[in-house]
Each structure stands twice: as C-alpha cells, then as structure tokens.
Amino acid sequence: MKRDRTVHVITVFVLIAGLIGGTSIIGTSVVGCASVSRNAYISSGITHTTARVALTGWDEYLSQQYTTVTNLTEANPEKAEKLRAELLEKEVKVRDAYEKYQAAQLAVLTAAQAFSQIAPSDPNSPRAEDQLTASIAAAGITLSALVDLIQKFGVKL
C-alpha cells in the first residue's frame, strides 16, 4: 500500500511540476521573465522532491533485497552471489539515470537563473527563454526515465 501511494505521489508531483513549467512558458509574454523564472524555480523544487521520493522507494526495496541476499548466503552462497550481482547491476543503472536527471535539473536552474537576470526587452531574451524551455523539457524526460526504471526494477506499484 505504501508503495502504491509512493508512485501515486510521484505521478501527482510530475503532473504539478509539468503544469507549473508549462504555464510559465505560456505566461512569458504577459508577465515577463521574472515570473517564468519563478515558475521554473518552483517546478524544479517540486520535481526534485519527486526524485527524492522515488529514490526513497528504491532504497527501501534495496534494503529488503540485500537482506534477502544476506539471509541466503549461508544456505546457498551461489544463488546469493548471483542475486547480489543482479542488484548491483540494477543499482548502476538507477544511479546513472539519477545522475542524468541531476545534470538536467542543474541545467534548468542555471538557465532559469540566467533568464531572471534578463529584461523582457533584451534582444537575448527569446534565446534565453528557448534554452529554459528546452532544459525544462529535458529534465522532465530524465525524471520520467528514472521513475520508470525504478518501477521496472521492482519497486512494486
């Protein structure tokens, strides 16, 4: 039940972050760069909370699985070692997915910070906005990939 809620929470977070990020782009021409940057800042914070929740679920799963390995070691060391190797392989993939997400999230904040310093009338404003838009989209993709991977590897829904 707790894992069901975890994934439901993650889904809501992703949707809300997407809503904030999307409205920030639509609202640029009306409210200016400061609001777009603010919404990107908020969206980034919510998205990162989502990633943390996802990794908490992953950590709980690993804790149980590695305990199983430990308990199995004396009775069947070969099977235990095989299971441990599989877990380590999964961990490498989740870690890599998380670090890609981290890099994408840092790109969002860097772009939002730069955009917040630009006046709406500045000729560089459209390009900076495009960069922010692209970075938000990329971060969303990396977060989805991370959550999908964790679910695929056994954090049950």
């Binding site: 809620r5 603010r38 800042y41 990162h48 909370t49 990794l55 908490t56 950590d59 904040l109 917040s116």
Partner: protein
Amino acid sequence: MEAIIIGILEVIFREAPTAIPAIRDLLAKKNPTKDDFDKAIAQIKADTYGKLVPHSQLPPTVPPVTPA
C-alpha cells in the same frame, strides 16, 4: 493556483508531511534571488545517489584526481 496545488498535496502527502512545508516555502518565493537559485543548485549537487540511497552497496564514486 498555489492554493489548489497545496490542497492536492495536503491530501496526497498525509504519509509524508515533511514535504508540505518545503512546497509551501517554494510557493512563497515571489521573486527568487540569485542566492535562492544558488542554494537550490547546491542542494541538488549535495543530493548524491549515495546520500539518498543509504542501503546502496555500490562503491562510492571517486572524483577524478587533478594532476599536480
């Protein structure tokens, strides 16, 4: 819009109440400053895989050694 979002989150996060104050703080920021962005960036950098997954059995990542 912030009120709607908080309302949704309050319903969903009964099991994770610590997330609500953090979200409230985020939404309270009218104009994030350079310092706010710097802190957010620092927080994301500090949240390494090893820190967020304490039961990991991967060896810690060793940063590349800079030649003297």
